[in-house]
């Protein structure tokens, strides 16, 4: 041992233990205690520079701040003011406190919850079923493309198409349901019993393919060997689906549910075209009410307050969903 003697870290070795360690060349392979050959580096290299990241991101951040953050901050400010057309007047939290006495606001929440729950339940079950049917089918690629058609349509246009289908004089569905005796009188959209179902159906028609698409991607990644092992273990196909396929689909289903429920809170084009909240406010889900307050009655301040509560609830529900789904996921690993 010549070099580095001054610069070693010596581990404590109990007396009597012999620890040896070989080095590169054969002349070095001799009885040498392991403690003697752990020189520390003389000095560490400087950390990898990363300051330029900020400069690279700065333009994007600036644009984002301008188009996204600025309006958001302005929305908060607006919700604290009584704004109509023209300059606003500072009213503090009055916009918010008034919401709790607003029957139509509270009713809007209930309707929104109903609407969203029905949409999600139908879309998930139908979408999953379609994905399972399409998966591995002979015409899979063609079928997927065909299924995606409704999604490619602008929601407002879809609403118009269905407006015709539901029409009380020449609508095809109107004719069908009346022939089947499910509908006694009046049109589908003008009855408080059926209007909500009608707008749910349009959402299901348009967005189930998205669930199918996402579930299909998930199905491709379900480990085949686990399915086979379970089959040999004695599971029927249905049992196999619930025991192996579904747990493996949880992460993608979470994404699908998140996307859809947030869309339900935001996309009201079709519903607006179809019912505009009627009849008798039976489809006035909260975003439609928000639209009316802000852009029909131009109570921009109150509208901003409703929008913010909607946003907060969306965020809380989103977090909750993630937590529910993350739990089994962490156990899966």
């Amino acid at each position: 041992m010549t070099s580095g003697v001054t610069n070693v870290s010596v581990a404590q070795v109990p007396p009597g233990t012999s620890l040896f360690r070989a080095r590169g060349t054969s002349s070095d392979i001799e009885a040498r205690p392991i403690t003697a050959v752990l020189p520390l580096p003389v000095r560490l290299n400087s950390a990898a520079p990363r300051r330029y990241y900020l400069y690279l991101m700065a333009p994007a951040i600036a644009v984002l701040a301008f188009i996204s953050l600025y309006p958001f901050v302005w929305l908060i400010v607006m919700s604290l003011q009584d704004v109509g057309v023209g300059a606003g007047e500072w009213v503090g939290l009055k916009n918010y406190t008034r919401l709790f006495n607003d029957v139509r606001f509270l009713e809007g929440w209930v309707l929104l919850a109903q609407y969203s729950a029905m949409c999600l339940a139908l879309q998930l079950s139908i979408g999953l079923l379609l994905a399972v049917i399409v998966n591995g089918a002979r015409w899979e690629k063609f079928l997927v493309t065909a299924l995606l058609m409704p999604m490619m349509m602008a929601p407002a246009v879809a609403g118009l198409v269905w407006l015709f289908l539901y029409n009380g004089t020449f609508g095809w569905y109107h004719w069908l349901f009346q022939s089947l005796g499910w509908l006694d009188s009046g049109s589908i959209l003008s009855s408080t019993d059926t209007a909500m179902l009608a707008i749910v159906l349009v959402d299901v028609w348009q967005w189930t393919p998205l669930i199918t698409l996402i579930a299909l991607a998930g199905l491709k990644r379900v480990p085949q060997d686990q399915l086979e092992a379970n089959m040999v273990d004695g599971a029927s196909p249905l049992r196999n689906f619930f025991a192996i396929t579904l747990p493996n689909l949880y992460p993608v289903l979470l994404i699908a549910i998140m996307l859809r429920f947030m869309d339900n809170f935001r996309f009201i084009d079709a519903a607006l075209v179809l019912t505009g909240g009627g009849p008798a406010d039976s489809t006035k889900i909260l975003p439609i009410y928000l639209f009316e307050v802000a852009f029909k009655f131009f109570k921009l301040g109150r509208g901003a307050a409703i929008a913010l509560t909607l946003l907060v609830v969306t965020i809380i529900l989103g977090k909750l969903l993630v937590r529910i789904f993350e739990k089994p996921k962490s156990e899966r690993v």
């Binding site: 480990p223 060997d225 686990q226 086979e228 092992a229 379970n230 089959m231 040999v232 273990d233 004695g234 599971a235 029927s236 049992r239 025991a243 192996i244 747990p247 089994p328 156990e331 899966r332 690993v333």
Partner: protein
Amino acid sequence: MARISINKVWKYYGTSPAVRELNLECDDGSFVSILGPSGCGKSSTMRMIAGLEHISAGDILFDGQRINDLPPKDRDVAMVFENYALYPHKSVFDNIANPLRLRGFAADKIKERVTSATKLLEIDHLLNRRPSELSGGQKQRVAIGRAIVREPKLFLFDEPIAHLDAKLRAHMRGEIKHLQRSLGTTMIYVTHDQLEALSMADMIAVMHDGELQQWGTPSEIFNRPVNAWVAGFVGEPAMNFLSAELRSEGGNTVLTHPNFNIPLLPQQVALVNGSAKREVRMGVRPDALSISTTRPDGPVIEGRIYVTELLGGDMLVDVQLADARIRVKTSTDFTGVADDACYMTVNRDKWHLFDIEDGHAYF
């Protein structure tokens, strides 16, 4: 426990056959290994037995009963997969209990069976772990536990120890063999590792390109390969092959090669006479040759040492001949070094002659 008969089974994927007219008879309680390189049809065969693949043609019988159309769950077989296929969201206990639960066993019966299986496999301290918290060897044992807990008619093991490290593999070979002996259940064990097949199985089916090449005991497969392909596939280091000619010299039949002239043994002459062509392929395993740097008496193969490799207990010598390079296994006291002239004698009881065209063995 069951006797497995595979009768003229074919497997087609599209139009290409993966298994061609396979016939096998596995005795009740025997350990049968299907050996072959990847793509030889061995896994397809196993999956057809398990019911995971449709049988394109032919029949598979368990105890004389045709099971072609039974779904996997009704065949009463247990399978261990190459990558274990444990259920990651279930604990070790639940993994092993799964086949019993699916068959509606009572809870106390399940507990009893799982406990005894895990004791046997020495994993009873891991029951509450998840598969992700296990090492490869432990996962392997859980997968085996899931198979044995049900006491099925037949075990199907699909390269179960291929992913373990060499030391653990050697250990598990012994464990699996012992397990099969003590349970007495018929086992079909698919592997590409000839060492596993030779060391564990009662009977080996060697497959190549979807066709059964040879069906025999390990010693038959090793010592009396039916063709050059089996001879080359089984054995490590692999058998040496040389092109040579058969000639008659003074009443003797002699194998001639630029590097040697060696007469056949009398009983071998009888096997060759009349049927063999003039050109043949000679095959000899590295340990059927003995090498020396001095010329011994009798017929020898002359060559030049290309390289020597020390393998700890043995030494492998690569020898350059006129047209090929052959390997010889010898003891570590061999002193020759590269470029030395060397002389090899052949243990003629252990050499083989193959047809130059279709590769079938004369002896």
